[in-house]
Symmetry: C2
Subunit: 245 residues, 2 copies
DNA sequence: CCTATTTAGTGTAAAATTGACACCAGCCCT
DNA sequence: AGGGCTGGTGTCAATTTTACACTAAATAGG
């Protein structure tokens, strides 16, 4: 019987990359650290995992402790384990990401966070530790996700216009989309509920407001699965895609 | 200044999911453990990470030590950290996967492995620890990869027929593909080098042999990138895909 | 040697999807 | 009333995807 104590042990952390969307800008939630190392610098909200805690639970807990944000779905992206990534010694970190509606949450910095704020991703150049690298890895994941399935509704207010939704996609994909084609496609997915309401108080023609239809989304995922995986009964049909990144 | 020793520490391991393809069957490389826990049971080739070792290096080293396989590209998939996933105490594990040509490598079990063998994935039901779960996660990743870009050549002998290639895709995607459409598409990618050689000694019309063209593959990846991300100069073009899983 | 068996190899047409593109509508402001 | 701004809409060409069936070339076995 082996003894676990023979083996090298290290502490490990979770780091959260929380994306939000506001004022046409894709943002990420950062904390200002009140603790060395990297005291007073901006970093991802992350901290050490406790003894009796799953990684997923730890990510949730840490996020709540540092920023006040609760009840978000976090998806694991990657684990970073370079020997020297932490100045005080070896620390492995597991990165998680999520998308949330900025307006749904109040930020409340506590624990080692002396501040918690949304930052425009486009403007960021540097973060504490290897957090910039982690951010970029998660951003890449987000880009891939968004072209596989309709994510992104999480980032908008409950009632939104098609133009807002388009801007969101453009921010995530870092590209420009054709208005007519975008609308055609997004509407054809039947994931939007037309609220028959209009924007008010804007200095231009008011836009129609929509809501995300969660029920149809589940349906979509279910079908989508069968869709791409099943051929016809026998001789068949599927192909792997040719271009697309 | 914080002291890392205050925090909970645990050992951590890497586990490798190595896919191979042989006799029309998608296989995974397993070891029989010669050490408790799960002595004499089949498991993924994995072991503890050392103090001065990156995760990626550890994965490579462990794979070589247990199975004799060297020089493979390993991609990180996921980290599993359930509190009770290891019967002797907490152990976090980072899962890696790779694709290799079975015939290119000689298996040589050593260290805690008393055997190393290829197993058909379709027949597997159970593995030591949570390794079955890990295997499934990596299999899913493989399926996703294969529809994004032409992986899979790694799994075939240096000279292969289009039918072999098709069977490989069918095994990975767990579906049936149309012969004519498959050939049309794969040939149009210009990734195959026609060797102008024929199969010999088969009891049917001999098939043409092909080779994978690595140079064109690099080209393909480079172009592919620009391809899907760029719109035209201004008003634009890109869309997120609608179906496809 | 003739036949049966097995896998290799090939083309086309219909359907669906994608991509490019330009103008009028409706609100506020001055 | 007009200017400024964003919302909203349709079509056509090009490309991609899918479905589908027969002949060719080798060996095996009588």
């Amino acid at each position: 019987m082996i003894e676990l104590d023979k083996f090298f042990k290290s502490p490990f952390t979770v780091d959260n990359v929380i994306f939000g969307f506001d004022e046409g800008d894709l943002k990420v939630l950062l904390i200002k650290r009140g603790e060395e190392p990297f005291k007073d610098e901006w970093a991802l909200p992350g901290y050490f995992v406790n003894e009796n805690e799953d990684l997923d639970s730890a990510a949730k807990r840490v996020l709540a402790e540092l920023t006040g944000i609760k009840n978000v779905y976090l998806e694991q992206v990657n684990t970073f384990g370079a020997v020297d990534r932490h100045p005080l010694g070896r620390v492995i970190t597991v990165a998680y990401y999520s998308l949330i509606k900025i307006s749904d949450y109040n930020l409340h910095a506590s624990s080692i966070a002396i501040n918690a704020k949304w930052h425009s991703i486009a403007k960021l150049k540097y973060l504490a530790f290897d957090h910039f690298k982690i951010l970029m890895a998660c951003f890449q994941r987000l880009k891939n996700r968004v072209r596989e399935r309709p994510v992104g509704f999480e980032l908008l207010p409950p009632k939104f216009t098609l133009t807002q939704l388009q801007h969101l996609y453009e921010a995530i994909l870092e590209t420009n989309l054709d208005k007519r084609n975008f609308r055609k496609k997004i509407l054809s997915m039947n994931l939007l509920l037309d609220l028959n309401e209009m924007q008010e108080g804007v200095a231009h023609r008011p836009a129609r407001l929509y809501q995300f239809d969660k029920m149809k989304y589940e349906q979509f995922l279910a079908e989508g699965y069968v869709f791409d995986l099943s051929g016809s009964k026998n001789k068949s049909s599927k192909k792997k895609s040719k271009k697309s990144v």
